[in-house]
């Protein structure tokens, strides 16, 4: 661990130096140990936590991997206590990357809460190629993550907070409806990551307007590489997909939203 910055509220920015990092694609994640590794393996909490890879920087001594997280439970509380120089267990990068938009498409990125961390790299890679509009949502201004990083990319950026402490007062999905108004189908692709309710609403709006919507799902997982079968997401065809192996990004129209926990 190189840095574990408290960025206000429950938000933290973790920087890890990883040797042998093979590179990653937007939408991939890592499994991080719940807290720093001690002299003996920790057994409580037992399971690692899936976290989106926020961004990386190459250095002579290895790759710096940034992860944004919120201190919400026992695992992330322990992670928040980790000090520079300590080691954190990491397995990854894991999962499939986002399917990228066509050259003529505009990318509308809608993210809320910790889901914001999943779409930064996508925005960064798309900026030189297509029009990118980023809509970020949170309960309050203090809950927002990474706003300055997105602004620095030069993307079109709009913010919604439920209490109105920053940007539009209300749900970020209202901004999505506005952004889609007057758009012809086939010219826009939506990418959405955040709370299930937010992604489900994005999927509904996309279906109404007739534009494709890709969602990046979260789920409990023990392994992250398709073995524990814990992270099943129900599909509209009646079967299950594994969020870790078949996702985490999915075409929103294939998800059976009512079956998601």
């Amino acid at each position: 661990m190189v840095q574990n910055l408290h960025e206000g509220g429950a938000n933290y920015r973790l920087t890890l130096r990883v040797t042998g990092w093979p590179g990653f694609e937007p939408g991939q994640f890592v499994m991080l140990s719940a807290g720093p590794q001690a002299s003996v393996p920790r057994t409580d909490p037992l399971l690692p936590r899936p976290m989106a890879v926020y961004r990386t920087r190459q250095q002579a001594q290895g790759t710096l991997v940034d992860v944004l997280y919120k201190r919400v439970g026992r695992g992330t509380a322990l992670l928040a206590q980790a000090l520079p120089g300590q080691k954190v267990g990491l397995v990854g990068p894991l999962g499939r990357c986002f399917e990228l938009p066509g050259a003529a498409e505009r990318a509308l990125l809608v993210a809320g809460g910790t889901g914001i961390a999943s779409v930064y790299e996508l925005a960064a890679r798309l900026v030189p190629r297509v029009d990118v509009c980023v809509l970020l949502g949170a309960a309050t201004a203090q809950d927002l993550m990474g706003v300055d990083d997105f602004a620095a990319l030069g993307v079109e950026l709009e913010i919604a907070t439920e209490d109105g402490s920053r940007g539009f007062q209300g749900r970020v999905t209202r901004l999505l409806e506005d952004a889609l108004a007057g758009r012809k189908p086939g010219t826009t692709r939506i990418y959405s990551c955040g709370p299930t309710g937010m992604m489900r609403r994005c999927a509904e709006i996309a279906a109404l307007v007739g534009v494709p919507c890709i969602v990046s799902l979260e789920n409990q997982m023990a392994c992250g590489f398709g073995v524990c079968l814990g992270c099943a997401a129900p599909l509209s065809n009646g079967s299950y997909a594994l969020v870790c192996r078949d996702g985490p990004s999915f075409d929103a129209s294939t998800i059976a939203w009512q079956g998601l926990p």
Partner: protein, 310 residues
């Protein structure tokens, strides 16, 4: 120089010859190939593949897993590709030097028998593990491994259906594990494996619902290790067929405890999820322990626990 002498790590698990006693547990190691990027599969004793049923099987709705102190609960419902797809597509992908044990799971004895028959002629399968923790429909949903008469009927039927080494994986959800071990030995099993996950429940107090969609689940991980050690020791006092110890093994010392309690081999389970190369660490740790004990053969240490007289 006790730390550097030659140590023979080979063991015979009821006719399954292993280069060392460390296997990986069914359901925690996929079909083997998932772990190829993380460890050399020929360095571990072998692996037990995900339990197979006659037909492909879809699992339970989410949430399927939940965390517990030093453990996890799961209710996957043994989702798998089915025995035929395993033989056709999964087995050929596993390198020849890797020992593969197939795990079998079904809801009726006749179906167990059919799955075992299909595996019987497959050379790449070194042995069969019979998962006896499935609810038996005809007995009103109790596990096969919870009734001595149902367990005896199952082992007898499968024994008649296969010449492969047969290892029965016992359920820990019983009062007298020794009795279940004796039933398996009496019906011709070559080995027993224990313990499967412990039936458990975890609760969300705000929603007043179980954490798992299925309600109940199976507890695994270090939390169950002392229970597993006790059951392995009790079983080892009751039978003379070899025992494979399972339950919360994280490192070589944990594995050593199972050998001391009477296990000829062990299976690493939940730890594979958190550290996909964990089984290799268990092999190395177990070897280091064997050298510290100045043993010539790891097998010589099996059952050497000095238990006080009652």
């Amino acid at each position: 120089m006790s730390g550097s002498h030659a140590l023979d790590t080979r063991v015979d698990l009821g006719g399954i010859r292993l280069r060392n006693p460390v296997l990986t547990a069914s359901g925690t190691f996929g079909y083997g190939t998932e772990f190829a990027p993380f460890l050399d599969l020929t360095r571990i004793g072998g692996f037990v593949a995900k339990s197979l049923t006659l037909e492909p099987r879809v699992g339970n709705p989410p949430p399927r897993i939940a965390e517990a102190p030093s453990g996890m609960l799961n209710a996957i419902s043994l989702e798998n590709v089915g025995v035929d797809a395993f033989i056709r597509t999964k087995l050929p992908e596993i390198p020849a030097a890797v020992v593969v044990i197939a795990s079998v799971f079904e809801t009726e004895i006749e179906r167990y028998v059919e799955v075992c028959k299909r595996l019987d002629g497959v050379d790449r399968v070194a042995g069969l593990e019979l998962n006896a923790s499935c609810p038996h429909v005809k007995s009103g949903g109790i596990e096969f491994g919870q009734s001595p008469t149902v367990l005896a009927e199952l082992v007898r039927a499968v024994r008649n259906a296969t010449r492969k080494p047969l290892m029965v994986k016992l359920s820990p959800n019983v009062t007298h594990i020794a009795e279940m071990a004796r039933v398996c030995e009496g019906e011709g099993a070559d080995a027993i494996a224990l313990i499967n996950s412990v039936q458990a429940l975890e609760v969300d107090v705000e929603t007043r619902r179980p954490l798992l969609a299925n309600g109940l689940g199976g507890l695994s991980g270090p939390a169950i290790r002392p229970i597993a050690l006790r059951m392995v020791w009790q079983a080892s006092q009751a039978v003379s067929i070899p025992i494979c110890g399972i339950g919360g093994i994280d490192d070589g010392e944990d594995a050593a405890k199972f050998l001391l309690c009477g296990a000829t081999a062990v299976q690493v389970g939940t730890r594979n999820y958190l550290d996909p190369s964990a089984a290799l660490g268990v092999v190395e740790g177990l070897e280091a322990w064997g050298r510290r004990q100045r043993a010539k053969r790891l097998a010589d240490l099996v059952g050497s626990l000095e238990m006080p007289e009652p």
